[in-house]
């Protein structure tokens, strides 16, 4: 990586594509599989995670010089848990239905390795602006990933997108897509797709080199 | 219960039932091959260290004269098969596919080719250790194929006891009829050989294990057995690899040789029936190991035969004697079809361990495509050592040789049963040989580093 051109924009973008937390780093799989049976759930989960990511990165970066090393992980977890609790109450206030369908997985954002991972690997080492940009990028990448699962699963599993009928009334839904098995298959298929893209890119690069 | 039921047809577990193809030569009496011009005697035709030559180029040698001496404890002596002149001591093509130092003897066309020294030896007057020395100097090795020096087998380690002596006459390899013909034609030498060996070993009893597709041999041996000889003929169910030492012992005694150990650990010494007969002849004619019976067989040779050949006779001479090869020959093997060695050249000599020469044609040698393993279990059911060839084969395919150790690859006796039954045509035993060789090399290297 060219260090000199490391603008905030680059930091933001790498989370979405090059270092996508889900498709590239294969992190935080639990919510990706669990709550993506509909587009709405995916969006809410994506936003909630991004919110927690940004807020905790902000505070971790802000206090990075004050927190002693020995207690840093404990502090990060505390900060993260705080914002997860906040996010949970906000979602509950906005819509009980959504909160219900996401179930315990909102609380489980606490143990999403992406967040602790970013806090430890990035926010604790960089100033606030970069940390927030990084968090935003990772959050966007995560949101994109859950959304890409949610779209496929809701479209095939229900014939709708965000509740709006797309495939018409006579479409036969594939129930498996909203069942756990479908979650594994769709995520597996997306990873396969990205493997294929990367392989193709590599092959093209090799051809150019030759 | 099981032993009662199977009293008459003893056998081991697992194994395979290939067609025996013995019809080519089973009814042909042993025929002496006429002498030819030149004989090639590789210094390494037995397990262990190569022999050390004691003759020089140009030296005249007599039939039966010592021409190379054992170079170590595990080694064997070599004798001139004919009276003639040493033409060369130089590398020659060896049946194992490499160039190996050999003594080349040009026959003296005028010599009557009588033995160097033809007085019978009175074995009853000699001590076991004297007998053992005679066998050692006679150049005896196992004639079944492995060519392990016989005197080494008889040197029982401290604290061990060879309660039983086994004569291995199972001859489970398809096509081969060497042992069968020896039993029919030379049985007196078998019995006298057993007497000598029993004396050397101090054993209680001898067993002759014969597969039940050789009924005539079983009947003849039983009929002619001297009443004072503590020996029993045991008919065995025809099954491959009945002739493997460990399988034979299991079949007769229901004892398993512990993993990584030798037959002596279950109080047994095993010899091939040909070796036993040759020892009988040694004492009868004072003849060291200079000739042997070889089955020349297969659909690719014009005139199959059971041939008595001087050691060192070149394959091309044997072929010429047997009417030549057919045009469609694709493969020439030393030994049987299950464990034999393919030959690239027809210049190689018949060695002490060459039990047969098999000529296969296009009809038998069908190139087969390898499929992935389908875990059909046939190899597991065939392996007489109860290994899991399927798993070992897959490990070998991805070169995880170290892991193969955990699955006892070193216990493989390379009988080829797994490759024979594999419906996916996976060259299992072939891969195991490679793996074992590499592992042995590696272990030797490690030992060297440590030591």
């Amino acid at each position: 990586m060219k260090a000199e051109q490391n603008t905030s924009m680059d930091i933001l973008l790498k989370g979405i594509w090059k270092e996508n937390p889900v498709f590239v780093q294969v992190l935080g799989m639990c919510p990706v599989l669990a709550v993506t049976n509909s587009v709405i759930n995916s969006i809410v989960m994506g936003f909630a995670t991004t919110f927690v990511l940004v807020m905790s990165s902000f505070f971790v970066s802000l206090f990075r010089k004050l927190i002693p090393r020995q207690v840093r992980i404990a502090s990060y977890i505390m900060i993260i848990a705080t914002f997860v609790t906040v996010a949970e109450y906000i979602i509950q206030a906005i819509s009980l239905e959504v909160h219900k369908s996401l179930g315990a997985f909102i609380s489980l954002i606490v143990v999403n390795c992406i967040i602790l991972g970013r806090a430890e690997a990035f926010a604790s080492k960089y100033p606030v602006k970069e940390a927030v940009m990084d968090a935003l990028g990772m959050g966007a990448g995560f949101t994109l990933a859950v959304l890409s699962l949610g779209v496929v699963r809701e479209l095939l599993g229900n014939g709708t997108l965000a509740g709006v009928s797309i495939m018409g009334p006579s479409f036969e839904p594939w129930s498996i897509m909203i069942l756990p098995g479908g979650a594994f298959f769709v995520l597996g298929a997306w990873l396969l797709f990205f493997n294929w893209l990367r392989e193709r890119a590599k092959r093209q690069q090799e051809r150019v080199m030759v | 219960m099981e032993r009662l039921l199977f009293r008459e047809k003893r056998t081991f577990k697992h194994g395979i039932h290939p067609r025996d193809y013995k019809h080519f030569t089973r009814d042909l009496p042993i025929e002496r091959m006429p002498f030819v011009r030149e004989y090639v005697l590789p210094l390494s035709q037995h397990a262990g260290a190569p022999s050390r030559p004691v003759v020089k180029r140009g030296e005249r040698v007599f039939r039966g004269q010592l021409i190379a001496e054992p170079a170590a404890f595990v080694s064997a002596a070599l004798h001139a098969p004919v009276t003639g002149v040493v033409a060369a001591v130089e590398p020659r093509e060896h049946p194992a596919g490499k160039m190996v130092d050999a003594i080349v003897i040009q026959r003296d066309p005028h010599s009557p080719q009588t033995l160097f020294n033809e007085h019978p030896i009175d074995w009853s007057a000699l001590t076991p250790s004297e007998l053992l020395e005679i066998i050692r100097l006679g150049g005896f090795v196992g004639l079944g194929g492995a060519a392990f020096p016989t005197h080494v087998k008889y040197a029982i380690p401290e604290g061990k006891y060879a309660r039983f002596f086994f004569v291995n006459a199972a001859e489970c390899e398809p096509f081969l009829t060497t042992d069968y013909r020896i039993m029919l034609e030379r049985y007196p030498h078998i019995f006298s050989g057993i007497r000598v060996i029993l004396k050397i070993l101090g054993s209680e009893k001898a067993y002759i294990g014969v597969e039940d597709n050789k009924q005539e041999a079983i009947a003849l041996l039983r009929e002619t057995m001297p009443s004072d000889l503590p020996c029993e003929v045991v008919p065995l169910k025809t099954k491959y690899p009945q002739g493997a030492e460990k399988m034979l012992i299991e079949a007769v005694l229901h004892r398993e040789v512990p993993s990584g150990r030798l037959p002596i650990d279950v109080e047994v010494v095993v010899n091939n029936v040909g070796t036993v007969a040759a020892i009988g002849e040694l004492f009868a004619y004072n003849q060291p190991l200079i000739e042997r019976v070889v089955t020349i067989t297969g659909p690719g040779i014009h005139r199959p035969a059971n041939l008595l050949v001087p050691i060192g006779t070149r394959l091309s001479d044997v072929i010429a004697h047997c009417g030549g090869m057919k045009d469609n020959v694709r493969q020439v093997l030393f030994g049987g079809p299950m464990m034999g060695m393919p030959q690239r050249s027809l210049d190689v000599p018949i060695m002490k361990g060459t039990s047969g020469v098999l000529f296969l044609t296009d009809g038998e040698v069908v190139p087969r495509r390898e499929y992935p393993c389908i875990h059909c279990m046939k190899c597991v059911d065939a392996c007489p050592m109860y290994l899991n060839p399927s798993l070992l084969g897959m490990l070998a395919r991805v070169r995880r040789y170290e892991d193969m150790l955990e699955h006892y690859i070193m216990d493989c006796i390379e009988c080829g049963s797994c490759s024979y039954v594999c419906p996916s045509n996976i060259p299992l035993v072939q891969r195991f040989r490679v793996a074992k060789a590499l592992l042995r090399e590696k272990m030797a290297r490690e030992r060297a580093v440590q030591g």
Partner: protein, 236 residues
């Protein structure tokens, strides 16, 4: 890591070193804890009224759904000894039933929550009981994970839900059991008022609903009948 351009942005790792005194650790943790607690409490206090209202609305909607004609409700706690008492304030504990009243303050029926094992997981439902006619007048599945497209029809299939408009749950005079225990029959074979027509292909989920209703009505209905007079009084 990759950042060279901005020199002073070094990881804070080495700065504190390893000789951080434990009081500083405690102080840091304490401060963070305090701030975190503060933030959480503030959020909680701000969102609590909205959440409570949401919850109440949700519950109320469910109750009114299964008690057609009801416009007001009142919660009763079922005591361990089998007596009912009106809920005082907001109680967190105890099993509650809800009496629904119409505009005139007459008791329309009682909404009862029940749950039990379904095909895939626990099914939670609420049903309305009309003590006057001794029938179930409505049923709504609150939570279920039944097979989509098949078992999930217990929530959506109008024909199935129609089963629960007037389902007889008459008690025996001694209240030991129902006069006619609820029964599941195949579609189109309903002959009696206490029978539930199954969803074709989703027999297991239909049967689960039947079981849950039967078990719950056997337990709760006698209690309700015993305390009917109290239930009939509208809240002050």
């Amino acid at each position: 890591m990759h950042m060279h351009g901005t020199g002073h942005h070094h990881p804070s790792a080495g700065e504190g070193g390893d000789e951080v005194s434990s009081w500083r650790m405690i102080l840091t943790m304490g401060t963070i804890g305090l701030l975190a607690g503060l933030l959480i409490v503030v959020t909680y206090q701000l969102t609590l009224p909205i959440i409570e209202q949401n919850k109440a609305q949700y519950l109320q909607r469910a109750i009114f759904d299964v008690l057609p004609g009801a416009s007001r409700k009142r919660a009763f706690i079922v005591e361990k000894d089998g007596r009912l008492r009106p809920e005082q304030g907001k109680e967190k504990h105890g099993y509650k039933v809800y009496a629904g009243y119409d505009r005139e303050g007459r008791l329309v029926g009682i909404a009862i929550e029940a749950k039990g094992q379904g095909f895939q997981d626990v099914i939670q439902l609420i049903y309305g009981y009309d003590p006057e006619r001794e029938v179930i007048v409505g049923m709504k599945v609150l939570e279920s994970k039944e097979t989509p497209g098949l078992g999930s029809k217990i929530e959506t299939d109008p024909e199935f839900i129609a089963n629960f408009k007037a389902l007889e749950v008459k008690l025996k005079p001694d209240m030991s059991d129902l006069e006619h225990p609820l029964e599941m029959v195949k579609k189109g074979q309903k002959t009696a008022a206490w029978q539930i027509e199954a969803i074709t292909g989703a027999t297991i989920s239909s049967r689960a609903i039947t079981h849950i209703l039967l078990k719950s009505s056997r337990e709760i209905l006698p209690l309700i009948r015993k305390n009917l007079d109290m239930l009939k009084q509208e809240a002050p």
